[in-house]
């Protein structure tokens, strides 16, 4: 497989209520091995996946939020969060987990993975993709 395509994984659901975000993340991690151009988008209730301070202890469910921190190690370094979705839900960037990646080409400088983008910017990004998954 020499071909490189642009993959976008769109996340529109909150965590825990359904398994889609967790199993979606599994696709992203496996997909990272295929060396395609990968990004993730968080819109609508999907922005809740990145909320800080998730603690599932009392639900008996697995807290998979630490997995987002590992994305940088898998070279998934672009996580686009739609500004309008955050605002509609009374959230700001400060409510989100601080996610970073290390830039090999810049002396391993730590850089933020989360980019807050407008709906218009996201619309343009969506248009650029070759393959779009929706979880």
């Amino acid at each position: 497989m020499s071909e490189t395509k642009k993959f976008m994984y769109i996340n529109r659901r909150p965590p825990y209520g359904t398994v889609y975000p967790l199993e979606g993340l599994e696709v992203v991690l496996i997909g990272a091995a295929f060396e395609q151009e990968v990004c993730m988008a968080f819109i609508s209730d999907g922005v809740f996946q990145l909320k800080q301070g998730q603690d599932t202890t009392d639900t008996g469910m697995k807290n998979f939020s630490p997995t987002y921190r590992a994305l940088g190690d898998y070279e998934v370094t672009r996580l686009y969060v739609e500004r309008e979705s955050l605002e509609e839900r009374g959230l700001t960037e400060a409510d989100l987990m601080p996610l970073t990646w290390e830039d090999e080409d810049d002396d391993w400088a730590e850089k933020p993975s989360i980019q807050i983008v407008s709906r218009t910017q996201l619309s343009d990004l969506l248009e650029e993709q070759d393959v779009v998954f929706n979880f």
């Binding site: 398994v19 599994e26 496996i30 393959v131 779009v132 998954f133």
Partner: protein, 130 residues
């Protein structure tokens, strides 16, 4: 054109697998190639041969098996999603110490890499789910 299809819901609860099936039939009729059908999330339940719907209803699992037989379709059930939900083939049953398997004819169990490969190789990927 080369098309890949992802099915994310089980049969009967959601219309997703019915729509996917009708879409694939129409695509085959129009002369397109179906590179792969990948079953994920509860979609793995499309692949159990133990399904027994009432006589007057469509048999969604058998329909997939028959379509696979007729058109040599590659029906892939995600192994991780299948293990969570109790869909096993003979190899998986043996590996996990289960007393039986339930995979339907025409289906095979494999990894998520098969989905990514479908996205890379196919001209279009269509996702059906809830």
């Amino acid at each position: 054109m080369k098309l890949a299809v992802m099915v994310n819901e089980g049969p009967y609860t959601h219309q997703a697998s019915d729509t996917a099936y009708s879409f694939i039939r129409a695509a085959l009729d129009a002369g397109h190639e179906i590179f792969r059908v990948f079953f994920y999330h509860d979609g793995v339940h499309n692949g159990t041969r133990l399904t027994t719907p009432p006589q007057d209803d469509r048999h969604i699992v058998n329909r997939w098996s028959e379509l696979s037989e007729a058109h040599d379709l590659d029906l892939v059930v995600c192994v991780a999603a299948a293990q969570r939900r109790g869909i096993v083939d003979p190899d998986e049953a043996k590996r996990n110490g289960k007393d039986s398997d339930n995979i339907a004819p025409g289906f095979r169990i494999s990894g998520l890499g098969q989905l990514i490969e479908a996205g890379v190789q196919a001209d279009r990927l269509l996702v059906f789910g809830d």
